[in-house]
């Protein structure tokens, strides 16, 4: 990785459109088999901080022995979104009693102003596939704006359309003004 404050390798990244987070990779998604063991590994060795995801946001009942976890891997706000650029936070969940292989995936934002099926169509056109079901398209924090795909190499991506309640004051919603 380049750490020097100079163009890499010969140009800066392209300009991205205003008020559009399509394609931004927002969270790493991990799975665990044993919550306490997983927590000790990452908290003790890497300094991560974890919070139990609310049931209303896809988590378990408070105090579950197999919680879904939002994790700060670096400086983060009370919303558990990053404060400074350059690191990703994590959503982790229990893999299930019968899991043999764990799935590592990411949550990527998609257009807020398009039906989710339009993104699914483009994924298929370029050699990817839909992984699981495409839900009934519905505004809000629930399943209606989420589905998963695979790229042409089999890598899994969770796609997420943010509800329209985004205020655009959020630090994570920044965009180039020039």
């Amino acid at each position: 990785m380049n750490t020097k404050n100079k163009p890499y390798p010969n140009r800066a990244p392209k300009k991205y459109p205003n008020k559009d987070l399509h394609g931004r990779v927002r969270f790493l998604n991990l799975q665990y088999k044993d919550f306490k063991r997983y927590q000790k590994f990452w908290v003790d060795l890497f300094g991560w901080d974890m919070f139990e995801l609310p049931e209303a946001a896809g988590g378990q009942k408070p105090g579950s022995s197999a919680p879904s976890l939002l994790t700060a891997t670096g400086p983060s706000y009370e919303t558990w979104e990053g404060v400074v650029p350059g690191h990703m936070n994590i959503i982790a969940g229990y893999a299930g009693d019968d899991a043999e292989e764990l799935e590592i995936s990411y949550t990527m934002e998609i257009h807020m102003d398009e039906p989710i099926v339009k993104t699914a169509d483009r994924v298929l056109k370029y050699g990817g596939s839909v992984y699981g079901e495409i839900p009934e398209d519905k505004e809000g924090w629930g399943a209606g704006g989420r589905f998963a795909v695979k790229d042409p190499n089999g890598n899994i991506w969770g796609l997420w359309r943010c509800p329209s309640s985004r205020t655009w004051d959020e630090a994570e919603a920044g965009w180039d003004k020039d």
Partner: protein, 229 residues
Amino acid sequence: MKYIYTCFKCGFPFALEEADCPENCPSCSASKDQYLVEPWNGSIEARRIHVDPPDPDPNWNKYDVSYHHPKHFPEKTRHGRVRRFVVEYDDAKVTKDFYADVFDWDIIPVECDQDKEDPLMFAATGPGSPNWEPKFASFGYGFLKPRKSDDTGKNPRFVVEVDNIDEMLGKVEGYGGKVLKAKYEVDGNLYAVLEDSEGNAFYIWQTPDDVTFDEPESQNFYKWERKPM
């Protein structure tokens, strides 16, 4: 009727029809009686109720996962930060076209692979600085990596930055993890491949000696102006 609800516990605002209002805050799990309510006025940006968020608690038990402000991460270290995603590929063109055309990424080969048929490629997924670091918080850049270059066969999918690789290699087995690949160098950077206690494979990358901690991505600010630049 539609309302704007602002959670008194965590400060999170959200707008919903009254019938769809959840019993617990979608951000922190606080019960519904913690919501402050105002009528929908056409835009959540124009809401009049704002709640100050909680501050980090320096005495918080690091294993307690109930709602709290994330801890205050220390200065002048990036140890533990997930810095990059990794996508293994079989066909460079197919993969580059997929991500560039479906998700609008910007993709270039890394410096040392400019002329290779199957290069290691760097992927920008949103606005960035000239040194190809993301310009805003809470999203990541990544690598597209030829699958044949992964000699662990475990498809490690993320890069965690660490202060010192040698120290980590000595500790990881004591926590139920494994060393999948010992320390190695790529283009002047030091990496190793580990597996966590659950079987997740990942890279560790040692903070290079030329990092000054003045870089935006090295900071640990907590009171940044929230409005986007």
